[in-house]
């Protein structure tokens, strides 16, 4: 499932998506700034593939996933899901589009209403979008419970009587109820312990094979993303810094942040663990309300150049199927147009030095 065998149809196209949350402060609650949770993100998801979205806490992964489903009113950009542009549609008119795109949430405890039985929870999408009779709905709910591996007998129980893994299965059954094409999995395994994580991921994979589902799989667990994703997008401070097919990204990361992120994955082999070189980042992620000038990563980048602090790198395809936003991979002519001649020569010498 590399880029050469990639299915051709794009199910989801996201272009320059921005999600800014306003900050109001002072006596009169004036609009004094924005938290730029997602700041100009573009990616496509092809039919039947899994796009992994990774990044550290607070980089805007979840916000991005929710914004793609229009759970927020986005600030800017366009979203096309299954041929329909949903970026600027009113929430009310979006209702008919909802069955195509569903979501599995991070915290299975919080995403299930504690006062509804499993039956009622899984049945809710059917209540909203279909005209089935009560018996038909019940039959469909029981069938869904079978599919996700829940005992039919549990349909009358409340969510708090289940374990974390079972709750996540309830959430998955609810997302499947309307036969969606596209599911955003917002860290579906982060709240589960390791043995259950594998079960849930395998369940997601089985369902994908069976129904041809397309996933946007948000996670901070790089090894799990490596297991499930077809292509991987790496986010840092509201922007995608690198997007590449899985094998290539893990074998040869291009962006310095991806390199640092991958070197943080624990190495199971003790000998390798002791000898491997790690890129250890210093400092903290800058505030998304006040991102640094130039490249967002320039404050922590081990390979920072002068130009990085001045000009934002363009997010572009440097090799077929591989996108990266880093000055190291920009050819000289494009950046030279953007900068003054003196700066360009400085950078040139720096790069030659490196």
């Amino acid at each position: 499932m590399f880029d050469d065998t990639k299915p051709a149809t794009k199910l989801v196209e996201v272009n320059n998506l921005k999600m800014h949350f306003p900050i109001h402060s002072g006596l009169f609650r004036r609009h004094t700034g924005d938290v730029k949770a997602v700041d100009g993100v573009s990616f496509d998801i092809y039919q039947g593939e899994t796009l992994g979205l990774v990044g550290e806490s607070g980089c805007g992964k979840s916000t991005c996933g929710r914004a793609v489903l229009r759970l927020y009113d986005i600030t800017d950009g366009s979203i096309v899901v299954d041929g329909d542009a949903i970026g600027d549609v009113r929430q009310k008119d979006l209702r008919t589009k909802r069955p195509t795109m569903q979501m599995v949430f991070q915290d299975p405890q919080a995403s299930l209403n504690p006062r509804m039985t499993v039956q009622a929870i899984i049945q809710e999408p059917l209540d909203e979008h279909t005209n089935l009779t009560k018996a038909e709905k019940r039959e469909k709910v029981l069938a869904l419970m079978d599919q996700v591996g829940l005992n039919r007998k549990f349909s009358g129980r409340y969510p708090h009587a289940f374990s974390g893994g079972q709750r996540q299965r309830i959430g998955i059954a609810r997302a499947l109820a309307l036969n969606p094409k596209f599911i955003v999995c917002d860290e579906p395994i982060a709240a589960l312990d390791v043995s259950i994580q594998a079960q849930v991921v395998n369940l997601l994979e089985d369902l994908q094979r069976e129904y041809g589902l397309t996933y946007l799989f948000i996670s901070h667990d790089l090894s799990m993303v490596r297991h499930i994703a077809t292509r991987v997008a790496v986010m840092y401070l509201g922007k995608i810094v690198e997007l590449a097919p899985r094998e290539e990204l893990y074998a040869e990361p291009l962006h310095p942040y991806t390199k640092a992120l991958l070197s943080a994955v624990p190495e199971p082999d003790p000998d390798l663990h002791d000898t491997m070189e790690r890129t250890i980042l210093t400092g903290d992620v800058p505030s998304p309300s006040n991102p640094p000038k130039g490249c967002n990563f320039c404050t922590r980048c081990p390979a920072v150049m002068d130009v990085c602090k001045q000009i934002e790198p363009e997010y572009r395809e440097v090799m077929p199927g591989r996108f990266v936003a880093c000055h190291h991979y920009n050819d000289v002519t494009t950046t030279a147009e953007q900068t003054a001649a003196s700066e360009a020569s400085d950078r040139q010498s720096l790069r030659n030095g490196a």
Partner: protein, 304 residues
């Protein structure tokens, strides 16, 4: 409980949540005692008159100001009317005023609270309105309302129903504010919960969202303010009657009985005691019930 019984129960279509609530409620001793006592009082005032058939307005001047006797277990008043019969008649009014006024206050409070909490746009206006009502001095407002509307309402609905409507509305619209505030706070917190977001991702409409996800989860505070509301309503009605502004003088309520009895407090203290005791015990039992209900409605306490 064995495994089979658990399975048998869970295999049923869906066990009504209220059965779980009842199971938990039963374990709260104070609440069960309160509920029993409240039921006893309700039965006494509504069924009692069928058994104790003396007319509460029958005047027997020769038997006035009597202490407890077998003919008049609670004694008689200054006109020789039987106190037990008057207590029952008064209880009917007091309890029905309490329940209806509480219902009205609860409806208004929940409506305002849910709307303010759920729809950000009207939050400011509704909460300032709530503050406005909270800032109104209750008693003078009631006095003005009674003075202004007593005559027209009595004329169109008859003196007793007219006053009943007036008192219920007066108490209802002056006591919904705490409920509104509590409910708004809970709705605000609830709105940020992930299951509400999940419902939005399904495409649930706002109306259904409130009925299906928000209201059931703010049930606990609503039920608690309901029981406290009954108590407040009975006390407010008593205060109004005590001030002579509630029902007509010959129409007994617990508050009016108390008011009439204060003139004879030194000679016949039992006449103050009975209505006072009835009010206090009813309020107390209702409060205990509220306590138990709050526990029973909280799924974390209820377990299972």
């Amino acid at each position: 409980m064995t495994d089979t019984s658990i399975d048998a129960r869970n295999d049923a279509e869906a066990r009504n949540q209220w059965w779980d609530v009842w199971d938990q409620f039963k374990t709260h001793k104070g609440a069960v005692m309160g509920a029993c006592f409240f039921i006893f009082i309700v039965l006494a005032v509504y069924v009692g008159p069928w058994i104790w058939s003396i007319d509460p307005t029958y005047i027997d001047v020769r038997a006035r100001n009597q202490g407890p006797t077998w003919a008049h277990p609670f004694g008689t008043d200054q006109l020789g009317r039987d106190m037990l019969a008057r207590m029952m008649a008064g209880g009917q009014t007091s309890i029905s005023v309490g329940l209806t006024a509480m219902g009205l206050a609860l409806f208004l409070g929940t409506l305002v609270g849910v709307l303010a909490g759920y729809f950000k746009r009207i939050d400011g206006i509704l909460m300032r309105l709530t503050d406005l009502f909270l800032a109104l001095p209750l008693l003078p407002l009631l006095l003005v309302m009674v003075m202004l509307f007593r005559q027209p309402l009595s004329a169109s609905f008859g003196p007793e129903t007219g006053i009943f409507i007036l008192i219920v509305i007066a108490i209802g619209i002056t006591s919904w504010m705490p409920t509104a505030r509590i409910v708004r706070g809970d709705v605000l917190a609830l709105k940020e919960r992930e299951f509400v977001l999940a419902a939005r991702s399904i495409g649930t409409r706002p109306g259904k969202m409130i009925l299906r996800h928000v209201l059931p989860n703010v049930m606990s505070p609503i039920m608690v303010s309901a029981t406290l509301g009954i108590a407040t309503a009975i006390i407010t009605e008593s205060a109004l009657s005590f001030l002579g502004l509630g029902f007509p003088p010959d129409f007994p309520t617990w508050g009016r009985l108390l008011f009439d009895a204060t003139d004879f407090m030194q000679q016949h203290p039992q006449r103050v005691m009975w209505p006072g005791l009835a009010i206090s015990l009813t309020v107390l039992s209702v409060n205990y019930m509220g306590d138990g209900l709050r526990d029973a409605l909280d799924p974390r306490i209820r377990g299972l």
